[in-house]
Symmetry: C2
Subunit: 443 residues, 2 copies
Amino acid sequence: MDSLSSLLQADKIDELRTRLANMIPADAANALEELDIEQIFVVFHLLPKDLSAAIFTYLSPDLHVKMVEALGSQEMTDIVNRLKVDDAVDFLDELPANMVNAILANTRPEMRASINSVLNYPEDSAGSLMTCEYVFLPEYLTAGEALAQIRQKGIDKETIYTCYVTTPKRVLKGAVSLRQILLSPNSRPVSELMSPTVISANTHESQEEVSRKFQEYDLIALPVVDNENRIVGIITIDDVVDVIVAMNTENIEKMAALRPAEDEYMKTGVLKLASNRIVWLLFMMLSATFTGMIISNFQGLLSQMVILASFIPMLMDTGGNCGSQSATLIIRGMAVGEIDPSCWYKVVWKEFRIGIIVGVALGVVNLLRIFLFMKDVNFAVDLTVTATLFCTIITAKILGCLLPMLAKVMKLDPALMASPMITTCVDAITLMLYFTIARSVLL
Amino acid sequence: MDSLSSLLQADKIDELRTRLANMIPADAANALEELDIEQIFVVFHLLPKDLSAAIFTYLSPDLHVKMVEALGSQEMTDIVNRLKVDDAVDFLDELPANMVNAILANTRPEMRASINSVLNYPEDSAGSLMTCEYVFLPEYLTAGEALAQIRQKGIDKETIYTCYVTTPKRVLKGAVSLRQILLSPNSRPVSELMSPTVISANTHESQEEVSRKFQEYDLIALPVVDNENRIVGIITIDDVVDVIVAMNTENIEKMAALRPAEDEYMKTGVLKLASNRIVWLLFMMLSATFTGMIISNFQGLLSQMVILASFIPMLMDTGGNCGSQSATLIIRGMAVGEIDPSCWYKVVWKEFRIGIIVGVALGVVNLLRIFLFMKDVNFAVDLTVTATLFCTIITAKILGCLLPMLAKVMKLDPALMASPMITTCVDAITLMLYFTIARSVLL
């Protein structure tokens, strides 16, 4: 099959148009990414306007910025006018403020008002995720009248599958699905069909909270209301899926001591990536100075028994791994709302018992391994190492669950307490234990 | 407000019924979890059958099993008959095989056939996630006829918002949204309205693949087809959200060297939790033996310069942290489909340059910190530590990106290569470098 670029060069315009029209917009956008910017403009002029707007939504942020720079605000306005409000907001969010103002100055007034109302909400809020294109029905309509209204006004709406029943002042009274309207007799009043208990979100609620509501109630759309319970927009599930994925990436990055980045790895410059990593690395390197000081303190003991040094890596690594296992489970459990820090004593008690089981298992293996395979290590050293291992495991398990819960209670982000932070704490405690036990057992 | 339990005891049946009927099923299920099992049975008998089935879906797995044990298969069958196919499958999946057979033996034949067809697919496949309750339309219908058919047959379907156009043998020809049908003139043929390019999944495709399609194409439903492109079911977005969340939890757990667990932390026993952790801990403890051997090998050097030991924790931790930062970004990038292992050389080149920047930054801070604040350490030792730090950082960055990509190419799970595995490798290399540099600089 010929590539888009060769079709363009051979002037096979009809074939090109048919090909793109038969593609799903997301795929068409992918195919366009291969072309250079002038070719993309040619293609955009060839396509029906609705299709080009649909494809535009799926182009990469890079290309969006390039197109704005090349096209100027007047032509961009034509495109923005045809986007859905939430897609327009996503697109404008990527641009520098002066470009946004230039484009908004020319959009149609209703569109501008809608976009502005969404752009004004804080970045992480429900308000900034919503679209203003929803169907609302006055409470006095019948099912038949409602259906007629949806058929007439539904064309520009993001979804017509859930409709919101409101008073004349747009106060939310209930929700009714298109399904219920369609499967009911025409004469039935909407107010009888609607469910009066509607899950909604306040404009200032966090997006994390919003995504939890979608998961808990299996929603496909959620109305967003202001403080007087007036509906101002809706959030649809496709945008929530993006939020869930982004939140997960952010959490994983924080747990690995990375400053969360908005951009994709392959598209981010080396300097930016390096700077996202350096801050935490420096912090952790400097806190490891503390562990170094502990070892310096015990230099006398160590120079008498150099063999002790060879177990330091094993003890530190096992402690770090134990701690990060617990921390990971607790951080994830709190993120999905399953673990509540107010029950901290239950969690600690559970981790303590797990620590004992794990400690005994690893301790026995370690004792035997040294006894059987390291003939030059005397049994007192073996016992010292094993006793330290056991204590380290229990300490690591308890710190691993306590620190993230403490962070949560102090309104800090628990993910920041993950493995690297806990490793640093556990290291220090492990070494103190090790040398203290060694001094009393061996000297 | 009185609790459900006190309403029950006071025999205020009407109030109880109204209260539950006005609640959202997920909330009603939460409220019921507070009651004991006999009370739940009483409540279930008081409620309209559809409502009790809707609430049943949201009860916890624990309670499901208890109810089956107490009710017996006959009464359970009545409940299962009223569930949606995919909810019934989720519920049956939690039960032991003999209970499943007893319940299935009594369900209505179409329901049994549907459930069985879904239960027969592998656990991680698209087939096991689908429901058989979808709307299909013959290709010769008009919009008006299609609407009439949806109104007549749509009642039991999971979603009526996307309908699939098929040949008489159910071969998938296209998809048409209820929205398009509703907003078009009644006489327009469905075959003109439908979009002929439909994203679909094969029954044996992985659920990870399915969730990626939902994200990429902003879908709310996805048809599942067999090898002859005949539609056998659909997957809806609410189930995909659950898959995305579960996949993320699993990845995070694997990255922290935990065997992924299906159950919630608070509901899992101590022994089970401990056993999920011990395998990897043992493996990593034993591989740390190797690092111990390296130190033993250099005992002579170490006993001459005990001060070297005090920098081991800092070097090991920084190496481990650097490696896990890179590994995390690469694992996540591959999971969301952004990084492709076939471009491994680009990634390595990027990490190499990041390593140099990070290495220089941390190296300078380290050199100065030792020079200024640790007067008893001579400058040659300072240089040795800093040179090792620099080499460790670069090695860790490169291993951190190479190992997960290697795992992917070898069809292993990249998440298993995360921080603990990389820490172990980096530790060994760091110590080798450290002592080799020390021996040539200091002796």
